[in-house]
């Protein structure tokens, strides 16, 4: 029974992907290795989905914020994300180099909206087949996670 349910689900998912204009996913999410695929470079010009419209990141890293963000990251994200290898989800060690701060914050805070609307996320879903769970992180914590990821990208910490 379960196998049947599974194959139906999979079928349904395939159908959704083939009918919902996923032709745009020219290659994988680009996160198997830490290299930014070319189509992601247009990210900056894309429409922003989710409740965070603008994030002001400083020119330097806020170490305190990054430290608290690391704690949140370890508790709520590392079960599925590693820094330098693909796991359940994409590697995030250099995610700040290929995604905007707004994208990262919205992915954490407004996961459902992003999955539904953002083309990049749609492509990633097609590749990873796992909807990222909303882990009930608040805005301050999410900002900390972003800062931690910026710090990690810069220093490997």
């Amino acid at each position: 029974m379960k196998a049947t349910i599974y194959s139906r689900l999979l079928g349904l998912a395939m159908l959704l992907f083939t009918t919902a204009g996923f032709g745009a996913c020219t290659q994988d999410g680009g996160d198997k290795k830490e290299e930014a695929p070319s189509f992601m470079e247009t990210q900056q010009e894309k429409k922003t989905y989710g409740k965070i419209k603008k994030v002001d990141v400083g020119s330097t890293i806020d170490a305190t914020m990054a430290k608290s963000g690391k704690e949140v990251f370890e508790m709520k994200c590392t079960a599925c994300h590693k820094y330098d290898e693909r796991y359940v989800g994409p590697a995030l060690g250099k995610v700040t180099e290929r995604r905007t701060p707004e994208y990262i914050m919205n992915m954490i805070l407004d996961t459902e909206t992003m999955i539904e609307n953002d083309d990049t996320v749609k492509c990633l879903l097609q590749e990873f087949m796992m909807k990222m769970p909303n882990q009930s992180v608040d805005e301050k914590e999410a900002r900390g996670v972003l800062e931690h990821l910026r710090e990690h990208a810069a220093t490997g910490k």
């Binding site: 379960k2 349910i5 370890e74 508790m75 709520k76 079960a79 599925c80 359940v88 009930s136």
Partner: protein, 651 residues
């Protein structure tokens, strides 16, 4: 699939049904809800929500069921006194202590009377209390997460039926014993009933903030059968009223021998006065054993403490706080109207419904004119306390609820009907059949100072021909009636679990807004919690193996474990790392003489597994969690002998 033929047949049936309507009376006697717009009155469209929550006793299932009204849809069965392998209740290491008693672990009970906590006489949506009838206990269910948080055993009680009715501000919940027994227990002849057996009426104090219960004092009263109770309200705030039968003190063939007296009693207890005397140190301390089981929200774990002493007050200790009001005949229900002035007795064998007056009772007490005394308790004169009688109401009056608009609704077991009568002149104004043999009935808030008098729900004892047959045992059933107009109208039949006794209901808003969505990982203080995947591990201490495991869509960590030996006790401590609403994970392992785990987001649960064979065995997630749910599994290797050094795959 609707084929054209079956569609055609359906149309014919519909036409036949419609033509039936035109010649059936609009009194529900057709046995169906054909009349008028009954269907639309109970139809809650897909995605829409019900107006009321109803908490219905599970009877001999020992649980508490949650329904939506008016749809009659079942949302949840909350495990209370009986084990529930689906939810791991009574199986997980965390919940086993909840079912501990002075008799040891008891996996079942019979739950009858939910009562909601009240503030100012109005249901406040915080907790539901419910009695365990067989091994006397009271449970408290938290309405933020719909879980049983506390179970308190009642010593000296034997059949906790008259329970756990709440006072106006939930200062106390009460526990009256249905069966009297020797107190303290002793090995004596049953025929010594009248000289040796006593009744225990226990007052359990409830903490206003935490809800935590504790026995404040216990009254030792004559050895009758104490049946049902209600606290006073407003002017009668300080009093508890409790029906009792078997004033004959029969100890055999009670159906005949306890039905001899023309009148039994409602005992009026001035609990405020008793509490004051207890606080002053009146009475004596008795050595007893009773379990107090408390579930801790921070550790997700229960502890059971066997407590040793209670304060006993005898009738001599509390002179002037107890009175017997004669009530015809073998009274069952004992219900107080929203004003707090009228106390309605439901005499199972009576031909009238007696309505007692609180103010007249006070006058009678003041006059000092008593019929007699029983064990120092004055027996008041029936007529002196009587506000009036509902004459020829039907057969077998049991329970009464109120609509807040001046009417009372009494269930009639023998004549299978609800009778509506006026609180002004005690005249019957309407009656409607029930299918069949109604026991309790409930109006949302119908036991409080503020009833939401829109519906009355009948909880029936017999279903007979109302549903598709399911062998010798048929579904239990409730019926919903509209009481917004002059005439009661049957709207809906719906099945219930166990055997429904009492139920409480309140507007959905009261509870919805406080409903918990998950347990916060950062607040998880479970001693075996694993709050991030990096901390997962397996440890051994002698023959105990502890697996510190996490689950998230859709994998366990670790998911390959070796070094377990036959004869080990393996404790799987699984923490669900999800922080999203409605994403529990399950955990099951082959051959476990145990249940599954069903772990809520942010929660830690522990399953004990004692492998009996060598080999490699799978474990898996039982709750379909994502498209890759089928992949959510792992293996544990069990060896005969070997070093027993445990290893696991680190992620």
């Amino acid at each position: 699939m609707i084929t054209s033929r079956s569609f055609f047949r359906g149309c014919l049936t519909l036409i036949a049904a419609l033509s039936l309507v035109s010649c059936s009376k609009d009194d529900g006697s057709s046995g169906g809800a054909f009349s008028g717009d009954a269907a639309s009155r109970v139809y809650v469209a897909p995605g829409q929500k019900d107006e009321f929550y109803s908490f219905v006793s599970g009877g001999f299932s020992g649980q508490l069921a949650v329904y939506g009204i008016p749809s009659g849809r079942l949302f949840r069965v909350i495990p209370v006194f009986s084990v529930d392998p689906e939810k791991g209740w009574g199986f997980t290491e965390e919940t086993k202590p909840m079912l501990n008693t002075s008799h040891g672990f008891v996996p079942w009970d019979d739950s009858h009377h939910p009562d909601m906590s009240q503030t100012g006489g109005v249901a406040d949506g915080k907790w539901v209390f419910i009695n365990g009838n067989n091994t006397p206990r009271i449970a408290r269910i938290d309405l933020t997460d719909f879980r049983t948080k506390e179970i308190l055993e009642i010593p000296n009680s034997a059949g906790n039926h008259s329970s756990p009715f709440s006072t106006e501000n939930s200062e106390y919940v009460v526990s009256g014993t249905r069966f009297s027994v020797p107190i303290p227990q002793e090995d004596i002849s049953i025929t010594q009933y009248s000289e040796k057996f006593r009744g225990a009426l226990t007052f359990v104090k409830v903490d206003k903030t935490s809800g935590q219960m504790d026995i404040d004092f216990q009254l030792l009263v004559p050895g009758f059968d104490y049946d049902l109770a209600r606290a006073g309200k407003g002017p009668s705030h300080d009093w508890m009223f409790m029906s009792c039968y078997n004033t004959e003190q029969a100890n055999t063939m009670k159906e005949i021998n306890a039905s001899q007296n023309d009148k039994d009693f409602i005992i009026a207890i001035n609990w405020k006065k008793c509490a004051e005397l207890a606080a002053q140190g009146k009475g004596t301390i008795m050595n007893v054993d009773y379990a107090h089981n408390v579930y801790n929200d921070a550790t997700h774990s229960a502890t059971s403490t066997i407590k040793k002493q209670i304060r006993i007050l005898t009738t001599a200790d509390i002179k002037g706080a107890l009175y017997y009001m004669p009530t015809p005949k073998s009274p069952h229900g004992c219900d107080v109207d929203p004003s707090g002035e009228l106390i309605v007795g439901g005499g199972k064998l009576a031909t009238v419904i007696p309505v007692m007056s609180f103010s007249k009772m006070l006058k009678a007490i003041e006059s000092g004119k008593f019929d007699k005394e029983i064990d120092g308790i004055p027996v008041l004169n029936y007529k002196d306390c009587l506000a009036g009688e509902v004459v020829r109401p039907g057969l077998g009056p049991l329970h009464t609820e109120f609509d807040g608009k001046g009417y009372a609704y009494t269930s009639m077991f023998v004549s299978s009907e609800i009778v509506k009568w006026s609180l002004k002149d005690f005249k019957v104004v309407d009656r409607v059949p029930t299918y069949y043999s109604i026991g309790h009935l409930n109006i949302p808030g119908g036991n409080s100072t503020k009833p939401w008098g829109k519906y009355v729900i009948a909880y029936n004892k017999i279903t007979k021909d109302r549903y598709l047959p399911t062998g010798p045992e048929l579904t239990q059933s409730a019926q919903l009636y509209d009481i917004s107009g002059e005439k009661m109208k049957l709207l809906l039949d719906f099945p219930t679990i166990g055997e429904p006794h009492y139920a409480v209901a309140c507007p959905a808003d009261l509870i919805m807004k406080n409903s918990r969505k998950m347990y916060q990982l950062k607040e998880n203080k479970h001693p075996h919690a694993t709050l991030k995947e990096a901390d997962t591990k397996v440890t051994r201490s002698g023959n105990e193996v502890h697996v510190y495991m996490t689950s998230i869509r859709s994998h366990f960590s670790p998911d390959n474990i070796e070094g377990v030996k036959v004869g080990d006790k393996v404790y799987w401590h699984v923490t669900n790392l999800e922080q999203d609403w409605d994403v529990p994970h399950g955990f099951a392992v082959i051959g476990a003489n145990n249940s599954e785990l069903l772990i809520m987001p942010g929660e830690t649960c522990t399953l004990l597994w004692e492998p009996k064979r060598a080999g490699v065995f799978p474990f898996y997630c039982t709750d379909f969690c994502s498209a890759l749910h089928q992949e959510m599994q792992g293996y544990v290797r069990v060896s005969n002998g070997g070093s027993g050094q445990v290893t696991w795959n680190k992620k």
